[in-house]
């Protein structure tokens, strides 16, 4: 039986488990009568988990025989997860009402998927990483296919599941190799075992197993060539779930990647002092990053469905974030460590991309429109949504004064500091390309005449979450200090 201190430190996870089960239970007992209360129960759970996370803010301790780290790095992701949970639940309420009778189960599974995000962020052993990523995957598959009557939703779930099953098997193979070589599941012990051996062939094993693990994490993050599921799954999934898929698994995929890279494999990832050549793993990641952002952006140029467009855009965004991983260097006291760049970028991306998807949901809920040509004249029909689209797209493209600019600034800054000039240059060129497709949507909305000029009525909850995410996108751009502090503190994980 864990003691009281342990229970306090895992209280966000405990709260979410309790609320997930509670939602299932209330749904079973009160059935129809409880339907409208269930999402609020989920939101209460997320809010309490957020409060609990802030209560244990500043902890730095490892629990359960070194398997579970409660440090600033993981607490950062727990804050992100609970905020995403609240926003997505708010916009799901209206969306689901007409589409599925199983709303209780939806909110329960969704609560568990946020719990799984928190678990991934804290995992510090290969077993926990695998288990919590599988947990997150199962809930994501289920949510993707949740609209049983909708063929596209079914197709999306099946594609997502088959792809995910294969990549997670490949990842498991890589994890078992790491375990076989080092004799430990614990990330810090793995690092110790690696630094204790002088045999040069061990380097090859580290490289091969890392590549296999990267297949599984790359699938979660939607890196090329593990991205093919993303457009179909994003298009077919219920749109609030698409919003979740585009931020949740991606964020914690990066969390797991960083945790493995910096805790278990620092020797193979972190750069040596200058005369030493660039190491293999960062080099591979740099190539993947270039292909990911370029391919994502080029294909996005040709999309006419806004959900598919945002899917390819989110693939490209993953490429930019990966630059931060390539350029990680934790020595010295530079404001550009790469690690803080990714964290700031992830935070910015979370609210921006959620905001963009909430815009899509607002329009889809009222009219069913998801094709970009039908967005013509949106500014006359729903001026608020059209205006906020501009803000979110500015932020996704990384143009000031939005929080997306701050994220790109710190990621590209780290690349420049570490001498990855061409990587930063390709990143900037890609950002310019992305402006074309983002503003194709804006052009339709602002400068084309509407075919049907009836105003679009927005549900109050959707409007609320739209305004909240837009406010955050602008507020953190004008006053980024809390974000900079937050990201700097989270770096305490590596010493």
């Amino acid at each position: 039986m864990p003691d009281a201190q342990t229970l306090t430190l895992i209280s966000p996870e405990l709260l979410l488990s309790i609320f997930g089960l509670l939602i299932l239970l209330v749904d079973v007992i009160w059935r129809e009568k409880s339907q409208s209360a269930l999402p609020w129960l989920a939101i209460l759970g997320f809010a309490l988990a957020l409060a609990a996370t802030l209560y244990i803010w500043g902890s730095n301790i490892s629990l359960f025989a070194g398997m579970y780290m409660v440090d600033m790095f993981s607490l950062f992701f727990k804050v992100v997860a609970s905020l995403a949970g609240i926003l997505i639940t708010l916009v799901s309420i209206d969306y689901l009402r007409q589409r599925t009778p199983y709303r209780g189960e939806f909110f329960a599974i969704f609560t568990f998927s946020i719990l799984a995000m928190m678990l991934v962020a804290s995992s510090a052993s290969l077993l926990m990483i695998y288990l919590s990523i599988e947990f997150l995957s199962y809930t994501s598959y289920l949510l993707t296919g949740f609209l049983r009557e909708d063929k596209k939703s079914n197709e999306a779930a099946i594609k997502y599941f088959l792809y995910g099953a294969v990549t997670s098997a490949v990842m498991l193979y890589g994890l078992s190799l790491l375990y076989g070589v080092t004799g430990s599941l614990n990330l810090t012990d793995i690092a110790a075992a690696f630094s204790a051996t002088v045999d040069s062939t061990v380097r090859m094993i580290a490289l091969v197993s890392t590549m296999l693990v990267l297949a599984g994490l790359g699938f979660k993050i939607s890196l090329v060539p593990f991205h093919q599921w993303a457009p179909d799954a994003y298009e077919g999934a219920p749109t609030p779930v698409t919003a979740f898929l585009s931020v949740g698994p991606k964020a914690v995929g990066f969390a797991a990647l960083l945790r493995v890279a910096l805790t278990a494999l620092p020797q193979w990832v972190l750069p040596a002092p200058p005369p030493a050549p660039v190491k293999e793993i960062p080099l591979v990641l740099a190539v993947v990053s270039i292909i990911t952002m370029t391919l994502g952006n080029l294909i996005a140029l040709r999309q006419t469905n806004v959900k598919r467009l945002l899917a390819y855009s989110s693939i490209a965004q993953a490429g930019y974030m990966l630059i931060g991983v390539v350029a990680v260097n934790l020595t010295g006291n530079s404001p550009f460590s790469g690690l803080n760049g990714i964290l700031i970028y992830l935070f910015a991306y979370l609210f921006t991309n959620l905001g963009a998807f909430i815009c899509v949901i607002a329009i889809e809920n009222a009219t069913g429109i998801v094709e970009i040509p039908e967005y013509a004249g949106l500014v006359k029909r729903a001026p608020l949504v059209a205006a906020l689209f501009v803000i979110f797209f500015l932020s996704l493209a990384g143009i000031p004064p939005t929080v997306g600019f701050i994220g790109k600034f710190f990621v590209f800054g780290a690349a420049l500091r570490e001498g990855w000039l061409y990587l930063a240059a390709i990143g900037v060129i890609n950002s310019v390309i992305s402006v074309f497709y983002y503003f194709a949507v804006v052009r339709q909305a602002f400068f084309e005449a509407p075919k049907d000029a009836t105003p679009i009525r927005l549900a109050p909850l959707v409007t609320l979450s739209l305004v909240v995410s837009a406010a955050l996108v602008l507020a953190f751009a004008i006053y980024p200090q809390p974000l900079l502090n937050l990201a700097a503190w989270s770096m305490g994980m590596v010493k």
Binding site: M67, E105, L127, L131, E134, M204
Partner: protein, 170 residues
């Protein structure tokens, strides 16, 4: 003696595994899978882990394989007639699969695996008991993964029921 048994069952497992992917008739493939599972169970016995071996036979060869056979019976897919539209994938898959195999063999054959031996040696296991050791670990060091697995299974179960059951509520 151990080594002979190891090579016997290891060879059997590899051959049967090839059968799983190469045989055209899904029932034959499923039977090959049973052979793989049982050979692996024999390897676990060699590693002085009889409990894992028994679990392997009961869960994999028993429950999971039976489930596979049921699905095959219910769907009755017939004999695979070749790849059809995905024909070009076969040679490509073979090339990439071989490349990975060569890579892994080269790496594993050249490296001296420095893995540390765990604290549970065969002598110690014989002293405290195999099942007891697993049980104690499951509720101490591995408590968290154990509890998470239970939640994961619950969610999977609820989700499958939602996706698969006949529509009753509307």
């Amino acid at each position: 003696m151990d080594l002979i048994v190891f090579y016997l069952f290891a060879t059997l497992a590899v051959i049967a595994a090839l059968g799983v992917v190469a045989l055209r008739n899904p029932v034959h493939a499923a039977l090959c899978l049973a052979v793989v599972f049982i050979s692996l169970a024999a390897l676990y016995v060699l590693l002085s882990a009889p409990f894992v071996a028994a679990a392997q036979v009961m869960i994999y060869a028993g429950a999971i394989l039976i489930l596979f056979v049921f699905v095959i019976m219910l769907l009755s897919p017939g004999v695979d007639q070749g790849a059809g539209a995905l024909k070009w994938q076969r040679p490509l898959a073979a090339v990439f699969g071989l490349a990975l195999a060569v890579e892994l063999i080269l790496v594993l054959a050249s490296a001296v695996l420095p893995a540390a031996r765990g604290q549970y040696t065969p002598e110690r296991l014989a002293q405290i008991g195999d099942v007891q050791a697993i049980g104690a670990l499951l509720f101490t060091d591995f408590l968290l993964p154990f509890e998470i697995t239970s939640l994961l299974l619950l969610v999977a179960m609820v989700g499958v029921i939602v996706l698969a059951k006949k529509r009753v509520r509307s």
